[in-house]
Symmetry: C2
Subunit: 221 residues, 2 copies
């Protein structure tokens, strides 16, 4: 008998599970900005004690997804318009560089997959899935850059603002524009034009940021 080697030691701890679940809930917007995160309540939801919950909350705070006050607990972090602008500016810088590094390494298989993600994003009607298809499209290409550290940062920075982005895409027609921009980026990638792909990615992110800021200014008054 032969089985795939599975490293049992990598089985997730309770803290890992809680962390991932809360992270997902926050970036998807299931937990609203400012919402209280009670340790007891979360512990019960996961059938565990508060210890792993506290560990998860501590990690989330390090990533800026929640804020905590001693003896007062944790709330889902809210970002000011300025903070959101900064993060988009940052993402534009990093992701433009990542795609530039990725283009020379793109192979047929990766491009085909990106094409499918791109189409999926354009056709997807379920707004709750846009966030995922968007990530799949971009990250699929980014992987080719072979820069794990960059990707880690990219992921963390997207996590911070994903919630707002999803809300905006759902409530406006911004995703049509995003879909067109994805087409253009993918096209540049297929042609092997790294500089163009980089420029388009930069603009794609800055555009999204500007639209989001307009949307939020309107929403917040």
């Amino acid at each position: 008998m032969k089985l795939d080697a599975v490293d049992v030691r990598q089985a997730a701890s309770a803290a890992d599970i809680v962390y991932e679940a809360l992270r997902k809930a926050i970036i998807e917007g299931a937990l609203a900005e400012g919402e209280n995160l009670r340790q007891d309540q979360i512990a019960q939801m996961f059938n565990t004690s508060r210890i792993p919950v506290r560990e998860a909350l501590s990690r989330l705070e390090q990533h800026g997804l929640i804020t905590t006050q001693r003896y007062k607990g944790a709330v889902v972090a809210g970002l000011s318009i300025e903070e959101i602008e900064e993060i988009f500016e940052f993402r534009a810088l990093i992701e433009a560089e990542v795609i530039r590094l990725a283009v020379p390494n793109l192979d047929r298989k990766t491009l085909d997959l990106a094409r499918r993600h791109c189409d999926e994003f354009g056709k997807e009607s379920d707004s709750s899935k846009w966030g995922e298809t968007n990530r799949n499209f971009h990250y699929g290409l980014y992987e080719a850059a072979r820069r794990p550290y960059y990707l880690q940062i990219v992921r963390a920075s997207l996590d911070r603002i994903d919630r707002y982005l999803r809300a905006q895409l759902t409530l406006t027609d911004g995703m049509k524009r995003a879909a067109r921009e994805h087409e253009a980026i993918l096209d540049a990638c297929v042609r092997g034009n790294a500089d163009l792909a980089s420029l388009l990615t930069r603009d794609h992110i800055l555009d999204a940021g500007r639209s989001l800021v307009v949307f939020l200014r309107d929403q917040r008054g």
Copy 2:
């Protein structure tokens, strides 16, 4: 009666204290790569229980300063040459941009302070302090960019490789070159030449990275 308002609630928790102490020990190289971090041992050192220690370790892992294995514990993370190269490349990208954004906002006071840090770095004979003066010099200038998110990332990325950098500066004469490059960067800042300051910062970091890689290849065989 009128007293200064002090926010007592900001008093650090045990986990915060342990986290900061371990972070400092790791980036200064007091804890060697691969060294075991026993929860009990650390808890005793800080006169506390293992709970806050575990929280601190969990945070350190999120920042990549340690790696942990379930039921086996934590060790100080080691970086491969490739990982170190990637982080230097990343730092060059970010910090070049940060200094570019900072230059237009630099005022007399900040420049004077940077001058003092620059001189201090050049004259300091105690090698254990180079890491701090180096950070003081760069961060003092970076603050003017008014980009807290960028700075957070800059700090985290420097944390990852600071240990190696300090070892190299101590064992080679690399810091003379670094001191000259600091002078040039500061000079560009004083003149208000953002593009030059950016370029010099980029080269300063890439140079340091290349020297470090040579040093490590030699050391590791």
